[in-house]
Point group: C2
Chain length 584, copies 2
């Protein structure tokens, strides 16, 4: 062993001990007659001291020559510091070095290895092994380990069995695009990497495994939006002989356990909301309920509002920004510009100020008198000092736009506290979702989700109305998990595939094994999957997942550190019976 202790563990109680440490040179302070070196490893920083009086001249010279990130081993005596540093755990002591060995030199790193680095994203990714030395990244990876370990401990304690499902499976055109893997031994055939172990976990339920989980990599060959990765990690779970309530109970328990063990936060009972309620109150199926600002749908006082923009709209809906009546014209114009950006796409924004003096003013003074404005204020529960912001238009669109505005306002008002946790179950999701591109219904979760009992008939007449036993777990405005009770009989599954536009032959070719399995005694079952990358980031109080992934890919799906993907040898292509077809 190159060390007797690590760089984070020596305390005043070790004074006079002989120790050996090894680590990286964080920085050197050379005062001429005395040199201090901060020695760093994963566990902390320990100060080394060399001085003219006690250190041999030759060693002083070596100490002086140490560059940043050199790897060194030192032997020495733990001594008390003259000026203690209460900011670090080893701040009471320093090491008077008696032996100094350079284990490896280091080129000057391309960015500083500090909490706040001067390195840009691209550079940090290229030298990710240096980036990982920085506390924010290192601690995020350790945090991730802790969360994963707690998940396993909790679920194992509840009799769940972690079962590894295969990575080389079969491609199915349904859903997102698969990554495929050509098979050398089966010419012309391909494996696919799993988008999730969905069918395998259902087969494990048919196989009597009863309670399954797996922390598992999944793959999607999608055009990458910001903060999406082609490979991502799920906590995948499934249970047999359960109803929705059982699943919510178990995984609320898991999430509560994590919040307590990892964040020290105790939350008694998670609130629940139907999908319809969430859409109506927050315009969003994953509302952030750390703050209020709920939607209020405005009702005209008479037959109509008497204002074309409102009268012609399918929905008139607003939010009340508490204490924002003092917003300047410039601030309000900013918000209006913000909602008009193409990403949001709103045509406008009506504002009403409930001034601190009790008067009301608005952008629609021409159309509404003060009585009317007061009528709106009453509906919207606004009080003196508040700002009301109202949008009108097609229901779906306006809800999305106002939801975006609500989040933006919350950010500006600092209402999204990273260390506050507001979990929420959203339940009763629609079974199907209309897809504008293909002009047909798609499964909102996936084709294995069961409709609510007694609603199958509705599929023929009102498919968009059919609700599913499907649920999402939302945390601070992010969907961290989602799942459903599954179909477990062949007839219903075949019916679903039919409604989703599969021919019987297609259904059989792609999912025949699952429907076969349902004929041999499939129990009722259901489950849920958490997105671990996102979950960890949110528990860690962060918005982006990248620092919680050791070696992430960039938005073109590239690993810029190892420079992958890359061309392969022509021999390899030939063995795989493939020819490249690049249009130049």
């Amino acid at each position: 062993m190159y060390r007797s202790h690590n760089c984070g563990e020596l305390r005043a109680s070790h004074i006079n001990n002989q120790v050996t440490l090894a680590g990286w040179v964080q920085k050197t302070r050379d005062k001429g007659f005395i040199i201090w070196v901060d020695l760093r490893d994963r566990y902390g920083i320990t100060q080394l001291v060399f001085d003219d009086e006690r250190t041999p001249k030759a060693m002083m010279e070596i100490a002086r020559s140490l560059g940043r990130e050199f790897v060194v081993q030192v032997k020495g005596t733990v001594v008390e510091r003259d000026s203690k540093n209460s900011n670090i755990s080893t701040g009471d002591i320093e090491i008077l070095v008696s032996e100094l060995t350079i284990l490896n030199t280091a080129l000057l790193p391309p960015f500083t290895i500090e909490d706040d680095t001067d390195g840009g994203e691209e550079l940090r990714m290229k030298y990710r092994y240096l980036d990982i030395r920085r506390n924010p990244v290192k601690n995020s990876l350790i945090f991730r380990h802790k969360v994963a370990q707690e998940v396993r401990t909790y679920l194992s304690g509840q009799d769940f069995i972690e079962v590894e499902t295969p990575y080389l499976i079969k491609s199915t055109p349904e859903g997102a695009r698969d990554f495929v893997v050509p098979s050398r031994m089966n010419p012309g055939q391909f494996y696919a990497l799993p988008q999730s172990p969905q069918t395998f976990k259902q087969l494990l339920m048919v196989g009597g495994m009863d309670k399954y989980f797996q922390i598992v990599k999944c793959f999607r060959d999608e055009d990458l939006r910001a903060d999406r990765q082609p490979e991502f990690t799920q906590i995948d779970c499934e249970m047999a002989f359960v109803e929705q309530e059982d699943i919510l109970t178990v995984f609320e328990g898991l999430t509560r356990h994590l919040l307590k063990e990892v964040n020290g936060v105790e939350i008694e009972k998670f609130p629940r909301m139907t999908y319809d309620q969430a859409m109506q109150k927050y315009g969003n199926d994953k509302p952030d309920i750390r703050f209020g600002m709920e939607f209020c749908e405005l009702q005209p006082s008479g037959e109509t509002f008497g204002f074309g923009v409102f009268d012609d709209a399918e929905l008139v809906v607003g939010i009340t920004a508490e204490g924002c009546a003092q917003y300047t014209r410039k601030q309000i114009d900013e918000l209006i510009e913000w909602v008009k950006r193409p990403q949001i796409g709103a045509t406008g924004l009506v504002w009403i100020k409930y001034n601190p003096d009790g008067t009301l003013s608005s952008s629609v003074n021409k159309f509404f008198d003060e009585t009317m404005l007061r009528h709106f204020a009453n509906q919207m529960n606004a009080k003196a000092g508040d700002l009301m912001l109202i949008m009108a238009g097609a229901t779906r669109k306006v809800r999305g736009q106002l939801s975006a505005l609500r989040m933006e306002l919350a950010t500006r008002l600092d209402l999204r506290k990273p260390n506050e946790f507001a979990p929420l179950w959203v339940i009763d999701f629609p079974l199907l979702e209309w897809d504008e591109d293909t002009q047909r219904y798609h499964a909102m979760h996936h084709p294995f989700t069961s409709p609510k009992p007694g609603q199958i008939e509705l599929l023929a007449t009102n498919p968009g109305e059919v609700k599913a036993n499907a649920y999402d777990l939302v945390l601070n405005g992010n969907e961290i998990g989602g799942g459903s009770i599954r179909i477990h009989d062949k007839k219903t599954q075949a019916l679903m595939f039919d409604y989703l536009g599969f021919t019987p032959d297609e259904a059989k070719a792609q999912f025949g094994f699952l429907m076969d399995a349902f004929q041999y005694g499939a129990p009722p079952h259901g489950g849920l999957a958490f997105g671990l990358d996102r979950l960890v980031a949110i528990l860690g109080g962060q918005e982006t997942i990248r620092d919680f992934i050791a070696f992430p890919k960039n938005n073109s799906g590239r690993d810029v550190m190892i420079d992958a993907p890359a061309p392969i040898d022509s021999d390899q292509l030939e063995e795989l019976n493939l020819i490249l077809n690049i249009k130049s």
Copy 2:
């Protein structure tokens, strides 16, 4: 919840309780006036009872109609059994059923769901979800979970951090064949699936992660030998600032922990043996030391043996089969035929019987008198009643053949007890291995293994003699883990690539990122990886890994259940810029 209890937990103490159970019909015994049904789930079997006296007629009819593997839910009262069954945990009680619901019917399964099934391998794989219902498979998967969980608990307790490394990496022609994944976003380029996270774990050490582990899937596109899988699981580990001794200590600790927690076996200290010793004493670098039968190299009494076969041989070596002097001519001929099979390839086998009466007889009476035979017997530590078996020829070949014979004899003599555990460290492996096909040296472990200090110079003159800081952990004749101290400086790594036949450009293109990393302050480091599939099988007392893998592939790399690999759509191929090139 479909049940109040599972099928394995009811005891005499529950008598008179009202319970709800759900599970599969294992079997029905219909005596006319009374029907017993064994209800099974993951946790056990509970007997249900229906009888003319206490059960409504309609329910009797339904009970009578239950087929094997039907999924049912019952409500009823726990009652004491008339004739108790001490073979099962619930054998004191049965359930007098008051409500019976068929949750799902089942076709007759294609093989019996019993510990000893009538299903062949192929059928069991096709209906793996039914195979998993059988105790031997189900229990193997649960056992695997337990082992993995213990590994994580132990290593986490030792401050190891589990870090997920990427699955979409870069192909390197070195070593086994990669599975590759075409990149749609980067036309003409491919990811590769990792054969191991080797370079990433080394980069984590450069990144200061200090102690890393990961239970991770790895991939190799090899022609599959029996009991090999294209995807397999490793317990991958790496530590910084360590020497070989530290690694042996930590992972001996892990293995000891597993043996204790999983098998209830306590083993104090694992023996160690150099590679050279193992080859000399067992003809094998992964000797099974549950039994003796060590090799004895015979020395001539004079200048020569006076027997051409021995005199012309590079090596004359034998083993002593204790108590086998009574082997018949037929039995011995069988052994001779066995070693002559092409898989072993021996030209012959000399036998000497040390008869119980103290006389000696042999297949070489023509060449050796009794004094000489007694001389051999002394060398080989044989005693009255033993059988000596001797082979002669080229060292490497003969050792391999005699090793195979030793294992075969041990099997015949029942010396390989599945519940006995004999771990062994084999250390000081050669750095390089001569490859007959390519007529050059290859890295025996991999090109990142460091030569023993002071032996680098030997590479130029005697490459085959260079020893590495490389070690294997052997359990019951299987390599369950292997690793090495790594090279951690660019110069040595470049030298290694050079010796292995890489041009500087090839080395840079494939491993430039690693050699770059070594320039920025790489600590000394080393590690080890266990093959989890094999480890679990051996701890479970089994020779084959297949039942410890939920959904294994067959020897053609196919999943016969989901029928993968399979052709993909022409659209998919086009998006990936690929054309199939199948020679028909």
